[in-house]
Symmetry: C2
Subunit: 293 residues, 2 copies
């Protein structure tokens, strides 16, 4: 292929930068940096990136850094809305038998959540419609996983996680253990759609491109058991109109469930007194065995 | 082309993200974001980016944000060492006749530098070997540009720009005007190689990949005249061993000049008393006409 003098000038820059990483002692880091350079330059050349646009990009990253704190991770949000968080999961977690699909961790996971007994209420004061969540945990070989560890967390009815209130409350999160048959059950609140934090540069990007900051309603799960891959996933609400436009591309069809609605007065499965409507959902979880990786 | 189920899963993520930008009202922003998504995902898929590597990348960007201040722009340094700053210039400034080639602005330009008379000394106290710099400014049509504005700035002999000392000094920078024939002349200090700031994450990246943080020795110019494109460039020192490994890929062969060395006792061209060796360099500058763009 012949190239114009201008193409040759641009390719020379790419070649110089790729060559500069040739001496990297770690072959994996060398591979990543050289590929990053090739793809980043291909992007800039394809769109004919102007100097003003380059300056705008640098300023955007500076603003991301400026708003980032321990509890506000703007670079994770950026990766999320560009689908890169979901793509990294997709690459790392190829389908294994009938294992439950993974999705994004999100920025609101907290280690060492309080333990809650099976059948207990993880809301712990989080506002919302009560929701009875049940299921089983088994492995891809079909064997139940007694005592499997389930970490569950969710936003309240106002769309906020406990950590977003900044007042040290703990609500809407818990660690549970499956019973001897690998079954689990707990009360939560019915998930509702909420926006990702959008008062920063990532929110501005979504607004400028006509995209919604809303996530489809979901409940987070992290499920682990000895000998199995730890699964990070969500269960989504059937019929949620946001399923097709989730801001972080976390929706997988296989993770959507019917959250059955019960009117006021319908008795709860565990006899809990309820004075309004409530829901229930069944979400069976299948973990891949480590040896299948 | 047939694709595996895994390829199809990954491509589905790309397609969803590209589609999410389809409604962006600004067609240029839509084009840029969709191309960015395609290239970024192609990178992640090509290297089979792991979740740990994704986390390391997010943490790297967080650290870049953390060290960034008004006078320390880590994202510019990152763009520089990936050659993206130079590529943006290369794309924006195609060759025009015999116009002088552009190179990176760098992070140390300051607007409103002090005016210095032709023949004066821009060092203003910056340490280093005296260097007599002369040249002409003309346009690509061959016409001299009387009164052309030259902004020049440089590091001192210790490799630091005035703004890096944090004590409000102004040294090694000035604004000059070419004379009626488009000629200029001034004293500076002979440029020496210096490292870009490398005590942050970008420095760590260079160290981890076996790259030097050093820039080839240079003197910065920003040259403007009515009816012409403003030129941002450097003049480099012939024989500098760092010409082939400039940390930011700013070297163009056409910008390298002989900095002629004179021993102690050699009279200066303007009669300035000098008690040691000094140098001189000629650097003629050609600006592209606006109408040629």
């Amino acid at each position: 292929m012949t190239s114009s003098p201008q193409e040759a000038r641009e390719q020379l820059v790419v070649d110089q930068v790729v060559a500069s990483f040739e001496g990297a002692p770690d072959p994996r880091l060398r591979q990543i940096m050289q590929a990053l350079v090739r793809h980043a330059h291909a992007f800039a050349r394809e769109v004919r990136l102007s100097e003003d646009e380059w300056r705008a990009a640098v300023e955007f990253l500076r603003r991301c850094g400026d708003i980032t704190t321990g509890s506000r991770q703007e670079f994770i949000l950026l990766s999320d809305v560009l689908g890169l968080s979901m793509q990294a999961i997709c690459i790392s977690r190829p389908a294994q038998g009938d294992a439950t699909e993974a999705t994004v961790l999100g920025p609101f996971f907290v280690a060492d959540a309080p333990a809650v007994e099976l059948g207990g209420d993880i809301a712990q004061g989080a506002a919302g419609e009560p929701c009875w969540v049940t299921g089983t945990v088994r492995d891809t070989g079909g064997a139940p996983l007694p005592g499997a560890r389930l970490e569950v967390w969710q936003a309240d009815d106002d769309g906020f996680y406990d950590v977003q209130y900044g007042d040290d409350r703990t609500a809407g999160r818990a660690v549970l253990r499956a019973d001897d048959a690998g079954a689990y059950r707990f009360w939560a609140v019915t998930p509702t759609p909420y926006p990702i934090p959008h008062d920063g540069p990532v929110g501005d990007l979504l607004a400028a491109t006509g995209r919604s900051p809303y996530r489809a309603a979901h409940l987070h799960f992290m499920v682990s058991a000895p000998g199995c891959h730890t699964l990070v996933t969500h269960v989504f609400v059937e019929g949620d109109p946001l399923l097709a436009s989730d801001a972080v591309f976390g929706v997988k069809e296989s993770l959507v469930r019917n959250f059955i609605r019960h009117g006021p007065g319908t008795p709860a499965p565990d006899g809990r007194p309820l004075d309004g409507p409530w829901r229930e959902v069944a979400f069976d979880i299948v973990l891949a065995r480590d040896e299948a990786s």
